[in-house]
């Protein structure tokens, strides 16, 4: 089959040499044609193939073939093997996969996002009645009706997604849809790594090599990655439908212990990221765990805290303009402050604050389940025994030109009414 290129999951540029059909089973042996000859491109493809197996987040992968439409579909991966990198570097690397097709309706396999719709508990008076958002690729077909609100189409860097709204009364439920394999990853959340080079590649599964200077969490609308500014938690970029912003929002994270006798008042600032781990890597949501350390600690008994790690989890959903930042107890902080390092003038909303001046046309938004903020920094305070921060960072894409469900208050509301979901394939 000359010039037949396959995609299997996120791996592309796979040229088949031999196909073997056996009912619903399909084995493919072929060569890897990476996007470039660089070592990183090859390593990325290798990681994307190896990640097909033992993957706790995805059990089913889309497969497409450039010349034979009868192959397109969703498959379970029974085996995946790749050759040694040095052989692959010469573009003669070989791969082999054993696949098993799913479903009986060709590519019309039903997927569902099973989950729970919540109203986040908060002290800011945001209550029930606000609709949550659920986003799937716009090429997908669904019977789920958008309640009381028109669906919103958002253009990501990998295709458009449509967000539908639902009342929180749906509770514990499953929302079903059918999606062509070629569009399965449109607008998906993903984790990317530069693998030691200069280009970011999509990674598959949780065994992903991430380092403090080499990690990125993105969904095609937001990019969250290691910060170019020292002492910052991360950088935040936004996609306005045609291009990415060039100037990021540098996210500052500081904490304080105040009015405490033992071990004494302290201020923590100047974050260094020590390690990055993948907690979840699925198309509907990706989560990374950052282990950070405060480089500047002032106050009583500061030396005791010099090497204490602080855990910050960042989670990003498909189709969202906001990312959840979950700050764990760590150094035992009483108040935690998160926001844009530029500390620009901002306007208070319900549950968040939003910068007044746009950067690259977009305005920064941040908020949390308690506390408040000004000048683009949001502070949560809590008692020592329950120190835990549930915040978000996000972008009002197109700033003051944002309309409908994309305005800063609307995306704040969408954060306060999440749909905690797990996407999976079910039989048709």
């Amino acid at each position: 089959m000359a010039n037949a290129l396959f995609t299997i999951g996120r791996a592309t540029g796979l040229r088949a040499q031999r196909l073997n059909y056996d009912g619903d089973s399909l084995s493919i042996v072929g060569h890897v044609l990476p996007s470039s000859d660089s070592a990183q491109a090859v390593l990325a493809t290798r990681q994307q193939l190896r990640g097909l197996l033992d993957n706790p987040d995805e059990q089913v992968f889309p497969v497409t073939c450039s010349v034979d439409p009868t192959i397109d579909g969703y498959y379970r991966v029974r085996g995946a093997s790749v050759d040694d990198t040095s052989v692959m570097l010469g573009s003669k690397g070989r791969f082999g996969v054993q696949l098993e097709r799913l479903g009986t309706g060709y590519t019309n396999v039903v997927q569902e996002c099973a989950g729970v719709a919540l109203d986040r508990t908060n002290t800011l008076g945001i209550g029930a009645g606000i609709e949550g958002i659920w986003s799937i690729p716009s090429a997908a077909l669904t019977d789920v009706l958008s309640d009381n609100a028109d669906p919103v189409t958002r253009t990501t860097d990998t295709g458009a997604v449509i967000g539908r709204f639902f009342n929180q009364t749906i509770g514990n439920t499953a929302l079903s849809f059918v999606c062509p394999p070629a569009d399965h990853y449109d607008g998906s959340a993903r984790i990317e790594s530069k693998l030691g080079g200069s280009t970011y590649y999509e990674m598959v599964g949780r065994q992903v090599p991430l380092t403090p200077t080499n990690w990125r969490l993105t969904n095609g609308l937001l990019r969250i990655q290691n910060s170019a500014t020292s002492g910052m938690l991360c950088d935040l970029y936004a996609y306005n439908g045609s291009s990415w912003s060039t100037t990021p929002f540098a996210i500052r994270f500081t904490a304080r212990q105040d009015a405490v006798v033992d071990p004494g008042d302290k201020a923590f600032s100047n974050v260094a990221v020590l390690a990055v781990t993948v907690l979840r890597n699925s198309p509907e949501v990706c989560t990374v765990r950052l282990l950070v350390n405060f480089q500047t600690i002032t106050g009583t008994n500061a030396a005791r805290y010099a090497n204490i790690t602080q855990q910050v989890d960042i989670s990003l959903r498909r189709g969202d303009c906001i990312a959840t930042v979950n700050i764990l107890p760590g150094v035992g902080w009483f108040s935690a402050t998160l926001g844009d390092n530029a500390a620009a003038a901002s306007t208070g909303l319900t549950g968040s604050i939003r910068n007044d001046t746009a950067v690259n046309g977009n305005r920064f938004v941040t908020g949390g389940t308690s506390g408040g903020g000004s000048t683009s920094l949001w502070t949560q305070t809590t008692s020592r025994s329950s120190a835990r921060g549930l915040n978000f960072i996000g972008v009002e894409i197109l700033g003051s030109s944002a309309t409908g469900r994309n305005t800063a208050q609307e995306i704040t509301n969408q954060w306060f009414t999440p749909f905690v979901e797990r996407q999976r394939v079910v039989l048709a």
């Binding site: 706790p56 514990n172 949501v285 989560t287 990374v288 989670s315 959840t324 835990r388």
Partner: protein
Amino acid sequence: MIHEVLRSQGSFDLRLQPDTPKNIVTQVREFARIVITSAHLTGEDLGSSAVPTFARYTGVILEPGDGRISGEGELWWLGSDSHAGKAIVDPVVLSGVTLSSALATLLPAGSALLPGSIDNTGLSTITFTPQAMSQRAAVEQAIAMAGASFRVNPTSTIDAALASTLHVTTPRIVVTDDAASWGDVPKGVEASVVVASRNARQYATKVVVLAQSGDGERLPTGEQSGTPTYLNPYGSPAELHRLIDAPTVPTASAADVAQQVLDLATVRQVVKVTCRHSDIGRDLRPGDAIYIYKPDQGFVDTANQVSHKGITITPSIETVTGISWPATSQFGYYLVTNGGTIIDITSYIMFEDDSDVELIIGQGSSLRGDVLPFSGPLGGADAAALRFAESPAKTFTPALTGMAIGTGGSAYNQATYIYANGMLNVWGRVVFGTSGVTLPTGTIGVGPPPGFTFAPPLTAVLPAGICYMNAGGVNSPGTVRAESSSLMRILANNAAGTYLAAANVSSTVPGTWANGNSIEYSYSVPVS
């Protein structure tokens, strides 16, 4: 494996390796104890009191031999299916005492288990006379009547307090089907299997406890109702009541007991969670609450928002009633011989490193609640309990007709009654005080104890007893006659004629009544 069960003795079953030296094997004897510590204590001072303080578990060996170390938890010492511990045969009177006082009485020095940390906060006082029952039944009934829960510690002590005090109510563990996450708070534990089945056979909408007879009612009961949530075939609320026969439970405690049974009479959920955890006892004890997040199986509750691995999940809260955990290579194992010698047998235990932890969630299909020890001693001597559960004497203050004792001086108005088999027997005394007194001028009488009405068998008034009046210095016997359902009349005797005649009492009959005078009476009458 070691099986721990809430409020029960549980069991354990360990094996020695085949090549264990003979001098160790021979020390594994009945009534020796196995103590398991969370880590192997090497070089520590292994005094007989030190090891249990580090212990995760202590059990008594009942089936030694052939390489087995098998037995039950230490609650076994107080009673089991086959023995009654230090049986309580003669009555032990506990009257309005706190739980700590009751347990100090029921578990005196020299008992197999001693009271540990007992917290009386929020508990009811106990009025209870255990008799002809096992030491264990007496202890468990006292704890249940106080409204408490209990736990046996590896140091051979019993802790008791309100369930919300004794056990963890805000879960420290969340069970999900995602990979474990020990850095999270609460700690994430990965469950490999969650098997859930429900059993509605035990469900009750109301529990009625038929309590100790003779406490002022013909058939004293205590009851508690739940809100029926199911309908019968005709669409009316289902009425599924449970009657508990508890002849040893005083009426005052019957409502508390009914509530305890009602709390157990739910639709039972047997959930077995199989998970990996290297030392579950460090994070979880039977009776503690845990979070379970498995939306597909209904383990979800939007009222609980928990941050877990970066997202907010909504697990349900469940109570762990049983924990089975493997004997792994990380623990220390010590044999405490019946004489108190500690022997380190860690090297000789056959470890179960590949086994999982199993949690029993919720009420379980056959819980101890089905055999709550309220019918008396273990071992089925219920008839004996009934014999002893006849009414003790009780005091009351009768209503007085035609007289009032006032205050001051020796003013007194009390009576004692015993009720048995439909007959009421009363003895009473009235002494007039010095101010506010109403001396007899005509018909005088006393009323029945609370909850009773006089029911003489024929419609005519009937004699019921005798009395002895001191009126103005004259000591005069008289008669007591049941005249209505609420009046037992006191009459004098007139000796004026040839034959004794009954006479109405007046201000001068049988003598001139004055402050300080008295009337003593007794009567026996059927009641309803």
